[in-house]
Point group: C2
Chain length 461, copies 2
């Protein structure tokens, strides 16, 4: 796997890309997709695409020489999605940063795969529209589509599954395919868009993404509320949703996560099971929704709402939430965080979080629990000393138990992080014969097995 690429292949790449084809160790190592619990798997070369024709050229060259190809965005995925498991070329799309089209009347846009969510929202700033999906990291929209990302606002606006209207894809044989036209809905044949959303680059390369946009809410307010227990926090959110309250965000942080946020961001939130809420709508709607939510919280023993209404206050709140993982990491210097996630039916969420926290009490490392409670999705961030074999093994056992419990509750082994290399066995436990269907589709669309090989499942399994 560390053999150099064939000389004729490298020549062809250089003829096309010039200095945008790079084989230096430093750059290859930057594209190795390491996670704490997963190995670094550097490619043998990195191709920097500037446009869709570059993608086609790289894909065709890889096809002709049998070289694996790994699409690469911001590299913020967590399960070694972008590692070069069988060597090959990392196809870096971060140079494709054009917003190709915004249609305010249709509330949609088309962007190249390398545009990040923050860059898109900056671009949209004066249109009255925004793109809501926020996985935390400033990921590229191509990568977010490829991993079926979601985030804090998915409760209200949906994730990438709901917000990708269509894609332009380069298939493994170098053909350019648009998966859908721009109608809001269609009953025209197989849903090609959703075949590629979440395929983690194993079926083709996403070149551009057509996205639903949403109207910027007229009014927004946010509030922080401490609860006596994880169950009380969860019940509040379930009851609010069942009452039809259109919560925009409902983010749970356990006391450990709150402590880490307080330390890093100099805040003074009570060290308790806590929910960060956000409400979007007209001023009346926001007032009504937040008041009804507050009443439900109080019935569940929640404390006072600490409001954040001004934009700077809200931004600070969500910056703290989005960087909670880093804050938690900082709480045990010298370790790397291992962030895992599961998602269960919301009726099982409280039980799942309580059992998870029980397991963590026995763990030899500190950890924090936080997540998108309204979707039944939560993360556990483990602060494992990678020099300690005992800690790593305990972390693996913890993660296995977490996943098994989620599946046993009819949930999923990953709500938003994806499978990559890290959760392939969990996927089989979750979907059984369904993984066989996935293999059939993979073999049909990528018969040479060159597109991000070994991710999601092993072809031989």
């Amino acid at each position: 796997m560390t053999d150099p690429l064939p000389g004729a292949f490298a020549e062809r790449m250089r003829a096309r890309l010039g200095e945008r084809f790079i084989t230096t160790k430093a750059v290859c190592d930057q594209h190795a997709g390491a996670g704490m619990h997963l190995p670094a798997l550097p490619p043998q070369g990195v191709a920097m695409a500037a446009n869709i024709d570059d993608i086609v050229a790289v894909v065709q060259a890889c096809r002709d020489f049998g070289v694996p190809i790994i699409p690469y965005g911001a590299g913020t995925s967590l399960e070694c999605h972008v590692g070069a498991a069988r060597g090959g070329v990392s196809l870096d799309l971060t140079g494709m940063q054009r917003v190709l089209r915004v249609s305010p009347e249709d509330q949609d846009c088309t962007v190249e795969a390398g545009v990040t969510r923050v860059a898109l929202n900056e671009h949209l700033r004066h249109t009255g529209l925004f793109f809501p999906v926020d996985p935390g990291a400033d990921a590229t929209l191509g990568g977010m589509a490829s991993t079926r990302a979601s985030g804090t606002t998915t409760l209200r606006y949906g994730g990438m599954r709901e917000n990708v209207l269509g894609l332009t894809v380069v298939t493994p044989d170098g053909a350019i395919v648009r998966t859908a036209r721009r109608a809001r809905k269609s009953a025209a044949g197989y849903d090609l868009t959703h075949i590629f959303v979440g395929a983690e680059g194993t079926l083709g390369v996403i070149a551009d993404v057509t996205l639903k946009l949403h109207g910027t809410p007229e009014a927004i307010s946010a509030a922080v509320c401490p609860f006596p227990s994880a169950a009380a926090a969860t019940s509040t959110v379930i009851e609010a949703i069942q009452s039809g309250l259109p919560l925009a965000r409902a983010e749970y942080l356990d006391a450990a996560a709150v402590a880490a946020v307080n330390a890093t961001f100099k805040t003074d939130h009570a060290l308790a099971d806590t929910v960060f809420f956000e409400f979007h709508g007209s001023p009346n709607e926001v007032a009504e929704c937040s008041e009804r939510c507050r009443a439900i919280a109080q019935e569940n023993g929640g404390g006072d709402f600490k409001w954040a209404v001004a934009e700077e206050e809200r931004s600070a709140l969500w910056r703290a939430r989005h960087h909670a993982g880093l804050a938690i990491a900082a709480s045990r210097p010298g370790t790397l965080p291992w962030s895992t996630d599961v998602c269960v039916p919301i009726s099982r969420l409280a039980e799942c979080i309580v059992a998870t926290k029980h397991d963590l009490k026995a763990a030899p490392f500190p950890a924090a629990v936080l997540g998108h409670i309204g979707d039944g999705n939560f993360h556990v961030v483990l602060m494992v000393d990678t020099a300690s074999r005992a800690e790593i093994e305990a972390a693996e056992r913890f993660n296995d138990a977490l996943v098994a419990r989620a599946i046993d509750m009819d949930g999923t082994c990953t709500g938003e992080h994806g499978i990559g290399l890290g959760k392939r066995e969990a996927l089989v436990a979750e979907l059984g014969a369904g993984v066989g269907l996935m293999r059939s589709i993979k073999r049909a669309l990528d018969p040479k097995g060159l597109m991000n090989p070994d991710k999601i499942f092993a072809l031989e399994g």
Copy 2:
């Protein structure tokens, strides 16, 4: 294609199903999927499944004998989806009518494929929840999933694409596969659910469907508003959506559709381009939303809102809308309606409707235009005298032009009716190389080509 089924096959079916395997002409003709512009294609036998084990048995027998198999629900699809294009067995799922599970806390349920949307909502009546997708006909939920159905409330609640959480599918080799577990979201591998939603039974048989449910709105009100033009009606809805108004329904009817509704339902709506609105929410939200919508309508020259607030009034209104097609049919006795649909980006909708109505002026048959204007989706119901070759040819020319215009506007050849046999050429015009990907998936999952053959695309193409 009209040869009898192999004797040994029929024996095996009778051994399994007894009298639920039927080969009489009358029953086969009932399963022939005729549409006005499409031929009746009766199967050679009908198998009435009572449970998933029956489905497996029928699929395995068909596989062993090379007999085509056509999944059949309510038979309300419009493009000959259920015709037996290559003979074989119609697998009738209407006997599978159990609601397997309702979870109010999770706002979801699982139903067998033969449960209809009306039966489901009747079952949910006392739960405070409802299932919103309403294609008009009382279709089965398996059929609605298979055709990626939508309807009047899709604007607010989404269609089947958004509301199917998972499926149990019997694959062409007789394996039972669950496409997803019951978490609200998942990043676990390929999106198997969406591969089967909209596949029109060409990849396997849907045995049960897990659906999102929604809280019954606290308050509902509806209103009818006449407009001076189709463009004024369209602009009103676009502006309301852009203002962030969460319209539950916004249904356009042209004057011909209104006239037919008036005649059939003894109503006295003004003969004009008209929108039927509905608003859902808390009493305050409904009041605010409807008032803001009324103001936008008036700015666009709309007339007074005629309100329907009481449940009986609203039911009558939507019954009239859902049966508008039949009302239109009744306007020219002795003919059958040909109902077609397209969907375009909403920015192009007014232009598309105006051009469509221009074409209709020159047509030798009466027709009406109506549709889900907030989604950019509309129907044209053509009242063609099937005894007149000239009328049929004019209708075909009209439909071809309608589809070409929608695709030219970056829309789709069908927003909700599907491809079946009727729009296969349109699909190629719309998605080009994408149809090749669909064929690859079909060959991978159904190598013998027995599942509802010839639908969506010809395999040989």
